[in-house]
Amino acid sequence: MIPEIGYFSLVLAMALSLLLCIFPMWGAYTGNLRLMRAAPSLAVGQCLFVLVSFAILIYITLMDDFTVAYVAHHSSTSLPWYYKITSTWGGHEGAILLWLVMQSSWTALVAMMSNSLPWVLRARVLGVLGFLGVGFMLYTLWMSSPFERLLPYYPVEGRDLNPLLQDPGMIIHPPLLYMGYVGLSVSFSFAIAALLTGKLDNTWAKWSRPWTMVAWGFLTLGITIGSWWAYSELGWGGWWFWDPVENASLMPWLVATALLHSLASTEKRGIFKSWTVLLAITAFSLCLLGTFIVRSGIIVSVHAFATDPDRGLFILSFLLVVVGGSLALYAMRVSEVKSEGRYKLLSREVTLWANNIFLVVATLIVLLGTLLPMIHKELGLGSISIGVPFFNQMFAILIVPFALLLGIAPFLRWKQNKLPPLARKALGLVASALLLTAVWLYSSYDTVSALTFIATALAVWITLGALVDIFEKVTVEKQLLEGFKRQSLSYWAMILGHVGIAFVIAGVTLTSAYSVERSVSVKPGDIALLNEYQYRFEGVKEIRGPNYSGHAGVVTVLKDEQKVTELYAEKRLYDVGMQFMTEAAIDDGFFRDLYLALGEQLSNGYWSLRIYHKPYVRWMWLGGLLISFAGFLVVADRRYRKRTQNKKVDGVIA
């Protein structure tokens, strides 16, 4: 009975969503204010019913109701309660329901926070969001209901959650990514509403910007945590594989990054208007395309999700309507738009434009690399595979001009700049960046390859540029504290985001260049050496968890005869699925990670053990955290807060 209520609740949500996409849209078209006014309550209503549905799925999972197919396939009685909750998005049907929860919550949030928006725009934004909601709800109800029953023959025990997903990183990774994807649907809706209204002025850019920023922050966080999860859970120290599923999340991120820079130009200077709209459409389209790639089985991926051509066909049709429709609308409307601002070659406008070019080229590389094997085959040219080396090489080439630009970007003003002072500053920075990098790398390592040096120097260059800029801006005031206060939160966000990128570049470069690993076979008491550390294998002890058993290799790590830490590298056998899992033991540090994975048992009491020394690997994720924090910081900026305070006044004017 209860699962059926969950299903029915979703039916009601879809009915309300359907009304949400029809009435306000019609009202905006005919100028009927009463129809437009219905939008916010419909938006909140559909959200409530989706939440009820999701709560029911969580409830039946906690109650171990194995008559429901989804619960039987993704949970078990021995699963700890917190993993039972996360199992509600560990499978396809539940993941889509979680997406719906996010989608409807963002819709409701937009409805509640857009009081001061003109009604014609507000109704259209919510109408577009309602339409997207209907699409996803129809998909859930028709193709992938998590409330499907296994009656009359149901199992007494569930199949358990995939052990790979039983990890804290995996609990938050999908929700964060979905927050990002769904958040970009808000930017998309604003763009479509602006196109429908025919007013592509900077108002829509101003409104769209905080939503885009938050979505982008979540997306960054989701990708960062996904990479960290792969590193800590997959057991061989990798953190990015250029897998189609990872690419599916990277592409929207790249375009969203371009979008928020372009939105800034449109809001502040009234330029790149049509380009910004196109980016907003593209960013969300790539989220949908990513979902299609992942869920349709069109591309073979290590993330083996359940695939089904019917589902793929539905998503493709939805893609065709949403993306095809909006690009057609774009083609019809955008040729009327004129750019307003004027600017010289040496200006912030041009650097932002160049930033967009690089990011879009990077997106195209990822898109081509992901889809080319399939297109190649469909054209009858045979099977090819595009792997890690292709992406690595392309990105290594792209990052150089991109990072160079990033280093001087903060100094440039709008409209135009004078060359001589800028060139002096840039030369000084280049010299100091090269010097610092040389000191840093040659003092730590014997060999430094050209690429390692260049990439590290670029990271240093970006950081120095940011520091010098802060110094110059702050010392304008006599009082240092005043100088700090004078800078807007948006400014700090920009600095933070750029320094975050520097950390990512440095982390990726140094860990790729200087990671070392050793495979050893050891018996208790043996010592293995790697770099300056000694690893003493103490033996193996039995372990027992709530739903697994296994062995833990105990290793004492020593440096200069001093004990650094004791690590437990585990090998788990999960009871229900009889799956083996390697739980790596990691001693994390700011400058290096020590990473141990236990291998198989050999004869005569020997065990095989893999030891990795990974310098600066944490900088990547630190960079990711800084970048996402930057996204959230912008929203707290006074400009956006002030508007909510003056809501009433604005509303009257609007």
């Binding site: 095809g324 774009y330 198989e600």
Partner: protein
């Protein structure tokens, strides 16, 4: 006019992409057009699944047309096709199993109990049907790798001279047999 056309470009690119995505949806991404067709069976020396003292070489298989069926007890589809394969055996088709063990990881191995596996295989073949003349155990997956095996079940059709004529991914059922295998076998026997 020019500007209007420019604005239309994203739409056109997307539509083209959709055509490919639609085709891709009905193509099988796992269907690999391997370069193995028409080439000789790679050389190997591997133990028998049931008796490791017995070693099989590629040269032992020459002289008769045979099917090499990649399978494992862990693979439900493989079990499902055993019944039909047994019927084929009764019709005189020579089928050799290439046993692909999933639980054993060549790079990062684990407890692997060959006796338990043999028990399991025996029970399974008794229950679901035994089409095999014998089974080759490819624990390190070297032969599977040489053949370009991407999963199980997969079946290779090999002629008397040891040349690979067909590489089929997925299960063999009457429909697949009639469409893909039977014509070639017909031709060979003429």
């Amino acid at each position: 006019m020019n500007k209007k056309f420019l604005a239309l470009i994203p739409f056109l690119i997307f539509m083209l992409l959709c055509v490919f995505l639609y085709q891709g949806l009905f193509g099988n991404p796992r269907e690999l057009q391997t370069g193995r067709i028409g080439q000789a069976m790679p050389s190997f020396t591997l133990p028998d699944l049931m008796d490791e003292s017995k070693q099989w070489k590629n040269t032992d298989l020459l002289g008769d047309v045979y099917l090499l069926n990649v399978w494992g007890t862990w693979c439900p589809t493989c079990i499902a096709e055993l019944g039909y394969l047994e019927q084929l055996r009764e019709q005189g088709i020579r089928i050799i199993g290439l046993y692909y063990e999933q639980a054993y990881d060549p790079d990062f191995g684990d407890h692997f109990d060959i006796t338990a596996l043999r028990e399991e295989v025996k029970t399974m073949l008794n229950r679901a049907g035994d089409p095999y003349q014998f089974n080759i155990l490819d624990l390190e997956r070297t032969l599977a790798l040489d053949l370009g095996v991407s999963g199980a079940p997969e079946t290779f059709l090999v002629n008397k001279e040891g040349k690979i004529l067909l590489h089929h991914t997925g299960d063999i059922n009457p429909r697949v047999w009639r469409a893909k295998f039977a014509p070639i076998i017909q031709e060979l026997s003429e």
